[in-house]
Amino acid sequence: GQDSSAGDLMPMPTSPATDLLSPAAPQDTSLFSSPRPSGPNEVDISSPLVYGTPSSRVEGTPRSGVRGTPARQRPDLGSVRKAPQVDLHSDQPSADNAVASEPSAGQNLVIWGTDVNVGTCKEKFQRFLQRFIDPTSTEDENAGLDLNEPLYMQKLEEISVVGDPVLNVNCRHVQSFDAELYRQLICYPQEVIPTFDMAVNELFFERFPDSVLEYQIQVRPYNALKTKNMRNLNPEDIDQLITLGGMVIRTSQLIPEMQEAFFQCQVCAFSARVEVDRGRIAEPAVCRNCNNTHSMTLVHNRSVFSDKQMIKIQESPEDMPAGQTPHTTILYAHNDLVDKVQPGDRVNITGIYRAVPMRVHPRQSNVRSVYKTHIDAIHFRKTDEKRLHGLDQDGEQKLFTEDRVQTLKELAAKPDVYERLASALAPSIYEHEDIKKGILLQLFGGTRKDFSQTGRGNFRAEVNILLCGDPGTSKSQLLQYVYNLVPRGQYTSGKGSSAVGLTAYVMKDPETRQLVLQTGALVLSDNGICCIDEFDKMSDNTRSVLHEVMEQQTLSIAKAGIICQLNARTAVLAAANPVESQWNPKKTTIENIQLPHTLLSRFDLIFLMLDPQDEAYDRRLAHHLVSLYYQSEEQMEEEFLDMAVLKDYIAYARTYISPRLSEEASQALIEAYVDMRKIGSGRGMVSAYPRQLESLIRLAEAHAKVRFSEKVETIDVEEAKRLHREALKQSATDPRTGFVDISILTTGMSATARKRKEEVAQALKKLIQAKGKTPAMKYQQLLEDLRGQSETAITKELFDEALRALADEDYLTVTGKTVRLLA
């Protein structure tokens, strides 16, 4: 029983208008004519949703069974106990005779304001728990469970073992099992979830009568199908169960919220407990024992508090329409959900959307005509958790409508889809078809393979591309385009970024004063593309971190006591300018851009973007540019694929398509590799390394993805070969011989150059030997002697290299300006 003064409270329902707006409950309208039962006493008894109050909590002795286990209040659901049941067929909402134990009467009983019948609902949910099987489940929560057995019964078993009394229920499962139950759950979560709680506890203690839990099991539904964008929330969603995605931007400190106030009479020490109802305590004015007025005082440390935290989430940047600012929503987390998320986390939250009227003044009765809205969180699901675990799944599962998928598939079925997509890529940039194709394949990426079981680690699936060429050949523009196209793109310039800006740095958080790890561009573009402009301007130090990222796809950090390895599965698209501002066709790629070959060999494709200086090209270029300036937006769109379609196409392929090599394709790859090796072998040089084979495989896979094909076929390999060859032709041609020489990229030196170096070294050795027994020689003297002897010009660099080679043989040492013979 409660003090009658509670009735004086002005009722402030969380949302006055939902019933009217909710289209799902048309029969409700008949209920409005009936006056609301007043007085909390009868309601309390009648409600089947009465929990054990916290006062019934018994400490110490082991207990079991539903009655023995204390229930824990669910502040996330608000005050449930106030919900009376009404008989649909009786005019008078006679709550008194509506007792749940009478099954005949119970048939027609529904909770006031809803169409939920407690008995049926409970039964249905128990049936769901006992029977639901999802053989195709891929959720990581279900790892280790037998998929052919009832899923949730296994989870209950887990609860009995682990003792964590929380049952997460996927709403999608409920929906596929019983659509009606699902509808009720979404529309009346405040009533239905406690019913679920009751059902699951009955079932649980029936099954595991001996298990001891801290408190009764609580059901936490998640993944409500109506996954909402924050922008689409509207008044119709009030008091409904919703799932929202977003990013946590702020968490408050822990707020102790009083659940039950403890009052003691100062005269006779009689104590009374009053439950907090929507933030208000009905202070007993009269002591019921001694009848003194105003003698009851609140005793804080005997009152019951629960944890509460305010969390703010903001729309994810991907969901936002252009030109608007992101929306934010306030969340309340209760009890064990407190401190589950940190600012910066990407989360999917499931909860009940609430709206409360705002008072202008506590003592004033006119209110501002606006509501404050928030969400009572029931379930959190982090969406970016996987980054640390490295699960083989893309972070963002974008949802596609049926229509969209259909359009995409139609597009994929076209024979020229590859060319179409390539031309849709950066239409403002003229020609460079092969480069665009290369970038297209990079956008799709290869198939991720995990050999960590066999100890070989992950194989890189991302395609790295380097563009080098004359300044002003719209390299930056291409990078900017790609950066705008992909959801997780990062754009940095080699000039402005340091190693820490690319990787990660440790800083002191101004609020918490703790050291926190701030991730840089490479980590942020995990699963995306990192565009690095002015790659050549990067300091060596900065460049060195790229070595690990570009092959192992991880980043190791050891600073300020934080040692960790982060995933950076990013594709790198870099642009470099030649050192001499203009590309020198007489020099090799390495010489032109002065990048270490160790880094260059990590690029799958290296393209040259040169000014072709040819009349026909100029004409087409001019036409293209002029049309750019006068064609209207619509005309352009007719000609080219919409950027949004391209985006979706890529996202779809990346998420759902993972092609595998077919038998013929493997054969074709083997042949291609052998051919590549053969080319050089005649001239005594190596023309391909396993890295090139891996590149071929990645490219072939990406091409299969473009076709939406689950199988890599010979045509994919053909295109991969062609593209690879094209890129090589541009970047790895030895200017001295005119042959394609892969060693330019792998060792930084063409085979001819290496041969020349060896010859000089040998000549030098002979020269020294000819001099006879002279332990030390002047450097300058030796150079002049060699120059005099040799027919070809000996540069100082060449001479130095020869000396170094001989020093490596332990034949001599060079100290300052003298050369000494060893041994």
Binding site: A322, T325, G344, T373
Partner: protein, 628 residues
């Protein structure tokens, strides 16, 4: 039919009337009717000018719940809010129930029955709006001067800037008095006017006091004017951040709104779930006192295509006639303006040409990431430091919105250029690059000084570079960056080559000897500018920007041929970038002559100008060996 008075002075009456009619069941679509009614009333420009403007009338002279207009800029967008669209009140003693309409209001009547089944919850969106940043004085004066509004206030008011006044008993059709007449009024008026004027032009005491604890978040430092919470009821998705708008709405300054904030400090009842949700800062930002930041419930809003008071509104019918009459005389105005610029730019005709084109440029389209139509000009070789400031002052007289940024070390290291999200107060803290479209940004590089840029400085320089190259600003959302496209005309004044990128650089060749420079500079200021001539320039610059432009197939062919020829002659010197630039120059050149298509003559002239510019650059390079 309602009289004009009624719909301006008591617009809520109109709303109530329609609402009541809807309750009787006669017209279910009353909401649309209300919107339509005001749209209809405001169709005429004369009607619009009857509505007092928040921009020129001080807030305390405006009647609460009357119709006002506000020329503003969307600085921030708050979260949508739910309000009681329709609610029912219960009268205590009689128990009589009554339905009310909650739309276009902030505060509900007493005795709201929260459990009523008739309550309708609806949604609206709040925008935080400030006056258009960088709006020049002549624009403000121009708008204020055209206003016909007669404000029925308890005291006579003197609008702060229009320098004229109305008397209480004046007729509706008051003739706007000339500026010169302001001082020739009756002695009694003069006395009160002078007082008012001082109060309002110098910072009003209330505002000054409040500014210390309430930051109104203007993008540019030193701005003043009313900030306003604009509540939008219809298709708010169409509005974008940084849009310049003219809104007509119901002014709400209920003191109850302010009471909220004060009450909050006193009662810290954390048990109440409605409170404690917001931090104190957030509270201050989102519900500032209504006396400082009034609420405006929008009945009608339209985006501003241009912010030039001398031009008719795009909606009015006489627009076409106006355009054709201006276009006819564009060539002559252009010649005048060019002569003026040549004079201002120390006799350099070529630089004057480019400056003129620069002032007409605007991003008219975007292809992928590439903005088309931008034309950033770098005027190098400026003489003394004070010259650039003079130049800016002159431009200020011509363009509607502009901002001057001296790129001194201190400025670069300390100004906040990029807007930043403040999560504590939950608002977008403005930065100087949050500007409305077609704002002129004048970067004065002659103020550069030796020293080191710190992290903020580097960030700022990058941000400026992004504006110039991509016409976008990355707003800092702490956890991520968000890109907002912009359309800002950047003019860089520098001594040597600018450290920032630019589309076109012109080295100034002064025809004035350094010895006479001082004298010459002072004469520029004194250059007799009759108001009508200035106005012609202003109209010219705005109109040329609004013209349509096309390139015929024939011209396309011609340009292609020409480009191929140029490449043949000089394959190293002519690149795709040059073609880009020449196409922009040609476009602007044709527009400046009032032509809406590319002509052969225009193309050749553009080529010629480019050639002159390049040869001057080369010449300059040889003279000055250290130039790259």
């Amino acid at each position: 039919m309602l009289s004009t008075q009624d719909w301006i002075h008591a617009p809520l009456g109109v709303v109530e009337e329609k609402f009541a009619a809807a309750q009787k069941g006669s017209s279910p679509g009353w909401e649309a009717e209300v919107v339509e009614f005001f749209k209809e009333q405001l169709k005429e420009k004369s009607a619009q000018s009857l509505v007092p403007s928040l921009n020129d009338v001080p807030l305390h002279y405006l009647k609460p719940n009357s119709l006002v207009k506000f020329r503003c800029f969307i600085q921030d967008m708050f979260d949508p809010e739910f309000y009681m669209g329709v609610y029912e009140t219960v009268d205590g003693p009689t128990d009589a129930k009554m339905l009310h309409c909650g739309k276009y209001r902030d505060v509900a009547e007493c005795g709201v029955d929260f459990n009523s089944k008739n309550t309708v919850t609806a949604e609206r969106q709040t925008f935080y709006c400030v006056p258009i940043p960088g709006e020049n004085l002549w624009v403000k004066d121009g708008y204020a001067g055209s206003s016909q509004a007669r404000v029925v206030a308890s005291t006579s008011y003197v609008p702060s800037r229009q320098k004229r006044s109305y008397e209480e008993d004046e007729d509706m059709d008051t003739q706007p008095q000339k500026q010169a007449h302001a001082g020739l009024q009756g002695p009694t008026d003069l006395q009160s006017n002078a007082d008012c004027k001082r109060q309002e032009t110098e910072a009003p005491p209330t505002q000054a006091a409040s500014a210390s604890h309430l930051d109104l978040n203007f993008p540019l430092p030193g701005e003043r004017g009313p900030a306003c919470l604009v509540k939008v009821y219809e298709d708010w998705e169409s509005f974008k951040l940084n849009d310049a708008l003219e809104v007509f709405g119901i002014l709400s300054v209920s003191p109850a709104l302010s009471a909220l904030a004060e009450e909050r400090d006193a009662s810290s009842s954390f048990l109440d779930p409605t409170e404690g949700m917001e931090t104190a800062e957030e509270q201050r930002v989102h519900s500032p006192p209504a006396s400082l930041v009034p609420r405006l419930h929008v009945l009608h809003a339209k985006p501003l295509q241009h912010n030039n008071p001398l031009l008719p509104h795009a909606t009015s019918d006489d627009n076409g006639a106006f355009l054709s009459s201006t276009v006819a005389e564009m060539a002559s105005v252009r010649a005048e303006l060019l002569a003026y610029f040549t004079h201002v730019l120390l006799g350099d005709g070529l630089a004057a040409e480019f400056l003129l084109l620069h002032l007409l440029s605007s991003v008219y389209s975007r292809r992928d990431a590439l903005p088309l139509g931008k034309f950033t000009l770098n005027l190098s070789g400026l003489p003394a430091a004070s010259y650039s400031e003079r130049l800016y002052q002159i431009l200020q007289q011509l363009v509607p919105c502009s901002w001057y940024l001296a790129m001194s070390l201190q400025n670069m290291n300390q100004t906040r250029l990029r807007p930043r999200k403040d999560y504590t107060a939950n608002r977008l803290v403005s930065g100087s690059l949050q500007l409305a479209q077609n704002t002129s940004l004048f970067l004065d590089e002659t103020r550069l000084e030796p020293g080191q840029l710190d992290a903020t400085g580097v960030c700022n320089v990058t941000a400026l570079g992004n504006v110039i190259t991509w016409q976008k600003v990355d707003y800092d959302f702490n956890y991520h960056q968000m890109e907002f496209p912009c359309n800002i005309n950047v003019l860089i004044a520098s001594e040597g080559r600018s450290l920032l990128p630019s589309d076109c650089r012109v080295h100034l060749e002064a025809q004035v000897t350094p010895a006479h420079l001082e004298e010459y500079l002072s004469s520029i200021q004194a250059f007799p500018q009759t108001s009508s001539q200035l106005n012609r320039f202003r109209i010219y610059l705005s109109v040329a920007r609004l013209l349509d432009y096309s390139i015929s197939d024939q011209m396309t062919k011609y340009v292609e041929e020409d480009f191929v020829e140029m490449r043949k002659d000089d394959p190293q010197g002519v690149s795709a970038d040059d073609l880009h630039r020449m196409l922009v120059v040609a476009r602007l050149l044709c527009l400046s002559l009032g032509q809406n298509h590319l002509s052969r003559d225009g193309w050749l002239r553009a080529k010629h100008m480019e050639m002159l510019r390049r040869s001057r650059m080369e010449q300059h390079q040889t003279v000055n060996g250290n130039e790259p």
